[in-house]
């Protein structure tokens, strides 16, 4: 008699414990989502309100268009970075890759027309991304140091390509892409939304996205599950390069004249928006929507500081602080989840 009672109680205890741990996991997840979303939405709303209230001409149509185009270019680069960070990598070479793609695209636009130019620009970006991917997967160089090196190499190549001189884009049709609008929305912004939708779908609803999450969560476990980890990594870096290429083509279209030193420091902006958007540096989770919102936030901050006539070097400081803020949130979020999962007493 007593034996059956104790077994029952033991089973009940196990069941109750299971329920409690499920409850803890659920609450941890809720808390994570809350932190993740508030990490970008709270600053976004604050900057939006402050911008509208304090900054003159903040909501003028030309400034809004300008902000949306800048945000779009940043967001597109950010999508690729999101993917790379989700697989526990990093791409520091996006700025140099974007500059090279923009300059090659500009020169091809002048010689072979806008469509070929845009295509070549994107392909150049994808090629540079593939170089990064091969260095990481085949030469086994850690991502951050491989891309730190290629950042320098690509920058050297773009300076050699342009010879230090600016390239003017003659084609008016090409330059119109950035300034034109579809149904009142700037074309680059439409492209960014569509690309974001595609990326979101790939990450959330396709096998590739599941593989990305698996590789980022635990590369060893992903290998054991039979996932082609190297292929996933290579694709992630390739997409990051290609998105830097798309960003470069749009940037060339927006500026109309490009030189070898554009997009310096872009890697920091891209990493900042990705981490601020809720993609964890620990890998295993990509948040495309967060990246998109954070790109809008950064574009608003830059535009607001410009309109307030704040010297451009304060933007460096703002960006550095924003990145450290985002990374602290990321760290706090991980610590919170760990505490919730482990319970109070452990």
């Amino acid at each position: 008699m007593t034996e059956t009672v104790t077994t029952l109680t033991a089973e009940e205890l196990v069941a109750a414990e299971r329920d409690r741990s499920a409850e803890r996991a659920r609450r941890a997840d809720q808390r994570r989502r809350l932190l993740q979303n508030s990490g970008v939405l709270v600053p976004f709303l604050i900057v939006l309100v402050v911008g509208v209230a304090v900054v003159p001409n903040f909501v003028s149509s030309s400034n809004v268009t300008n902000m949306l185009v800048n945000a779009a270019i940043l967001a597109i680069v950010g999508y690729g970075m999101t993917l790379v960070i989700a697989v526990r990598g990093i791409d520091l070479s996006v700025g140099s890759a974007q500059a090279l793609a923009a300059c090659v695209a500009a020169s091809v636009v002048n010689s072979a027309g806008p469509f070929v130019g845009a295509l070549v620009g994107i392909l150049v970006g994808a090629g540079l991304g593939a170089v990064n991917g091969l260095l990481v997967t085949q030469a086994r160089v850690p991502g951050f140091i491989a891309t730190l090196s290629t950042m320098s190499v690509f920058r050297g190549l773009v300076l050699l390509f342009t010879g230090g001189a600016p390239i003017m884009i003659a084609s008016a049709g090409f330059k119109d892409v950035a300034t034109s609008s579809l149904l009142g929305v700037p074309t680059p912004f439409v492209i960014a939304v569509l690309a974001g939708g595609g990326m979101w779908f790939a990450l959330e609803r396709m096998r590739f996205g599941k593989h990305v999450v698996a590789v980022g969560g635990s590369p060893e476990a992903a290998v054991d599950t039979g996932i082609g980890v190297n292929r996933v990594l290579l694709r992630a870096y390739l997409i990051a390069g290609a998105s830097a290429g798309v960003g470069g083509v749009l940037l060339a279209s927006q500026l109309g004249v490009v030189n070898g030193s554009i997009s310096t420091g872009l890697e920091l902006q891209a990493i900042a928006i990705v981490v601020l958007g809720g993609t964890s540096m620990a890998g295993g989770r990509g948040n495309i929507v967060g990246t998109f919102v954070a790109a809008l936030l950064l574009a608003m901050i830059n535009s607001g500081l410009n309109l307030l006539n704040v010297p451009s070097f304060y933007q460096y400081v703002a960006l550095g602080l924003l990145l450290i803020f985002a990374l602290s949130i990321d760290g706090a979020q991980r610590a919170a989840v760990r505490r919730m999962l482990e319970g109070r007493h452990s």
Binding site: L148, V153, G156, G320, L327
Partner: protein, 337 residues
């Protein structure tokens, strides 16, 4: 051909000094291999362009190597601890600007002390961010790089700060014979850093958490304190490099050391300190710094566009790490050598 003849000499030295243990000999030989590359390169450049050995040029090479090398000594300590600092350019700029700003009203010694104190302070910021806010070192210091650069630009309003004191310029660019004073400082710092890393309790802690942080914590080593301290020491080294760079350029500005972190990391890694942490070779760092200085100088003498240096530094760095990765993968297969 003459170039190749010089290779056996260092290897012979290695065999004479080898204390018998295979690994020590191998290690020593791999260091000597780098020296051989350096000698071959210097001889080859000397043959192609005799002006390489000319009076002013060799001082120039040693000066350049020392600027990179001083910062690389601090970076070697960091990398031995499995850490990294990308904010080198920012620390150098801020400390050099401090010198330019305070020099008119203080002594040379006072200005240098201020610069070094700034290096310590900025290193402390990096150390605290990495240790207590728990941000990955390379990304935290990427953030502080822009933070420090921003501070430098704000401090100078984007202008160049001239170093007006001719005494300061003379003191920092003085030479003894054909050897610049800074090169001797570099060697002293390298020896001090070597002793710090391999002969002190602090150095042992750094190497311990560099090879396995969790094990070091469980062994009761003061990991957090040592981590902050190693960033502080590195900041000091970067500021010291800034002290001499300011004298060399006789001015200071925000982007005086833009991209310098690449040269420094490349010198350390090519010197043979593996990025995975756990050990560091100061001798290798000295040779690596000299190697890149000779290489850059050779490109200049040969009239190659300076843009190629970006390409070359990056390529050499990535190749060195790829080779290191292969080598360490092989070592792992052999077992716990």
């Amino acid at each position: 051909m003459t170039a190749i003849d010089t290779t056996p000499a260092p290897t012979g030295v290695a065999n004479d000094q080898g204390p018998g243990r295979l690994q020590t000999v191998l290690h020593f030989a791999s260091r000597q291999y780098l020296v051989a590359v350096l000698v071959v390169l210097a001889v080859a450049v000397g043959i192609a362009k005799p002006s390489f050995w000319g009076g002013g040029n060799i001082e120039n090479v040693l000066f350049q190597a020392s600027l990179v090398g001083l910062a690389a000594c601090g970076m070697t300590l960091l990398i031995a601890g499995g850490l990294l600092d990308l904010s080198v350019g920012g620390v150098i700029a801020v400390s050099a600007i401090a010198i330019g700003t305070v020099l008119p009203s203080t002594t040379i010694g006072g200005a240098i002390v201020v610069a070094l104190a700034i290096g310590v302070g900025l290193g402390l910021v990096n150390g605290l961010l990495v240790t207590y806010v728990r941000i990955a070192p390379f990304i935290a210091t990427l953030g502080t790089l822009y933070l420090f650069l921003g501070l430098a630009f704000i401090w100078t309003s984007g202008k160049v700060v001239p170093i007006t004191s001719s005494n300061y310029r003379a003191a920092t660019t003085e030479t003894i014979g054909r050897v610049p004073y800074v090169f001797l400082v570099f060697l002293v710092v390298a020896v001090a850093a070597y002793l710090l890393l391999s002969r002190t309790h602090f150095g042992r802690t750094v190497r311990a958490f560099g090879s396995n942080e969790r094990a070091a914590v469980l062994a009761g080593l003061p990991v957090a304190r040592a981590k902050v301290l190693v960033f502080v020491v590195a900041g000091l080294c970067f500021a010291l490099s800034g002290v001499f760079m300011a004298g060399r350029l006789s001015s200071a500005e925000g982007n005086m050391a833009m991209g310098f972190e690449m040269d420094v990391i490349a010198a350390v890694v090519v010197g043979g300190t593996a990025l995975r942490g756990g050990r560091g070779t100061m001798f290798g760092t000295v040779v690596g710094s000299l190697l890149f200085a000779v290489l850059a100088n050779a490109l200049n003498l040969l009239g190659v566009a300076s843009y190629w240096q970006y390409v070359l530094t990056g390529t050499v760095l990535v190749v060195a790490i790829a080779i290191g990765a292969r080598r360490s993968a092989a070592a792992e297969v052999r077992g716990a050598g």
